[in-house]
């Protein structure tokens, strides 16, 4: 593991996050129909992107772990799921904050909200499994299986939740249609905060992964030590 990559993520985050804050709060013009609350959208969307990315990475790492049985894939999967969970929670929170003034309610069973919530629930289960299950290979493999099945299940969740919504009577909200990003500065801001949140999450992921790797390595060393002692004891 090269520490330079982590440092690069950290440096990028240190530059990009203030830049994104500046652009969101100062640079970008206020959107006409939604007013000031629309600015949260520049955090909301990148968080969602990172959340999905984290879950995807966790599933890929899970598949690799099952196939190659190397501890590093398990650590990657765990770290990715944790970061994904963090940003998924942020998506729900920022979504709620936005929904209150715009839709008049903190929470509605809108199809996208519901999908995100189910996703959150999936990974809550995943992390609880890792926290409550004993730290053994079987639990790690089950977690990998859950991550894989979950990611493959996501398209079906999206389709079914849409089906669920369309037949129910619509909740009385003023759904403002597509977010029209007519001003080019809006797109620029979105791009920068996309990069900022990506760098931030990559750095968090990196830190978490390093911790997990250190833990695995420590365990490995302790095992080697115990083995060496056993061999030493056995020798005349």
């Amino acid at each position: 593991m090269r520490p330079s990559l982590g440092a690069a993520f950290a440096a990028a985050g240190c530059v990009l996050v203030p830049a994104a804050l500046f652009m969101v709060f100062v640079y970008v013009p206020t959107e006409a129909s939604q007013g000031i609350v629309q600015r949260i959208f520049y955090f909301h969307v990148p968080c969602a992107w990172v959340a999905f990315l984290g879950f995807g990475l966790s599933a890929v790492a899970g598949a690799f772990y099952l196939f190659f049985a190397q501890q590093v894939w398990d650590d990657i999967g765990y770290a990715a799921a944790e970061v994904g969970m963090l940003f998924c929670t942020l998506v729900l929170i920022t979504g709620s904050l936005w929904a209150k003034p715009i839709w008049g309610t903190w929470w509605t069973w809108d199809s996208r909200l519901t999908t995100t919530f189910i996703l959150w629930l999936l990974y809550a289960g995943y992390l609880l499994l890792r926290a409550m299950g004993e730290e053994n290979e079987q639990v790690a493999r089950l977690a990998a299986v859950v991550a894989i099945v979950a990611v493959l299940d996501i398209p079906l969740i999206v389709i079914s939740v849409r089906l669920w919504r369309t037949i129910h009577p619509a909740v009385l909200v003023t759904r403002s249609g597509e977010h029209g990003l007519e001003d080019p500065r809006m797109l620029q801001t979105l791009a920068v905060s996309m990069l900022a949140i990506s760098a931030l999450s990559a750095w968090l992921f990196w830190l978490r992964l390093k911790t997990l790797r250190a833990k695995s390595r420590l365990f490995e060393l302790r095992r080697m030590l115990a083995t060496a002692q056993a061999i030493g004891d056995g020798a005349p």
């Binding site: 099952l66 189910i118 996703l119 629930l121 999936l122 809550a124 289960g125 995943y126 609880l128 499994l129 409550m132 299950g133 004993e134 079987q138 639990v139 493999r141 089950l142 990998a144 299986v145 859950v146 894989i148 099945v149 979950a150 493959l152 299940d153 079906l156 969740i157 389709i159 079914s160 939740v161 089906l163 669920w164 037949i167």
Partner: protein, 222 residues
Amino acid sequence: MLTGFCALLHKDLTLERRGGRVVIELCVLSLLVLVVLVVAYGPETGGRPESAAGALWVALILSGLPGASLAVAAEHENDCLTGLRLSPLEPATIYAAKVAAVALSMAVSQAATLLLLVLFFNLQFDLNLLRLIPILLLGTLGLCALSTLLGTITSRLRAGEMLLALLTAPLYVPELIAGVKASAAVLSGASLAAVVLPLKILAACDLLFVVCGYLLFEYLAG
């Protein structure tokens, strides 16, 4: 492979016939769920086909989870699963047979649930009910495929039952939604077109869970 599958299935059915508790337990659970829901809904809402469809699926999922746990736990008793792992069977065959056995037990309890549902929710005994059968079978297969796969490990953990429910429920959401939709459409006598998309979702989920289970079970049984 087929002989192994048949032998396993035959063994599970023999065990079930001989004082097995899965079917009985599932029937009792379904009965309880239906009674509770009828009382909770009250006479007005309870009469709607949507309520009946919802009750049916609540009964299905609440009885399916413990059902799969019981079936998997039976294999851990006396280390029988180790015996199967030592045998020439492929893990995938063990998985397929286990899913089939659980699904059969659940299908029996589903039949009982359907009967009670008609009585409790004042539905008509007519051909419409027959249309529910494929929907229920698809839902049952998906639930069994999923909970047997995950239950193999969770049944050995301390908080296994809770974890199994927590992991299975969100994954099962698509089938739950599609199943309730389709059942409600059938019970309210809607046209066949309303059932097509839900059936597709059910089938797609079943395919996903069965294929995943078939391919991934070997990593969990080991």
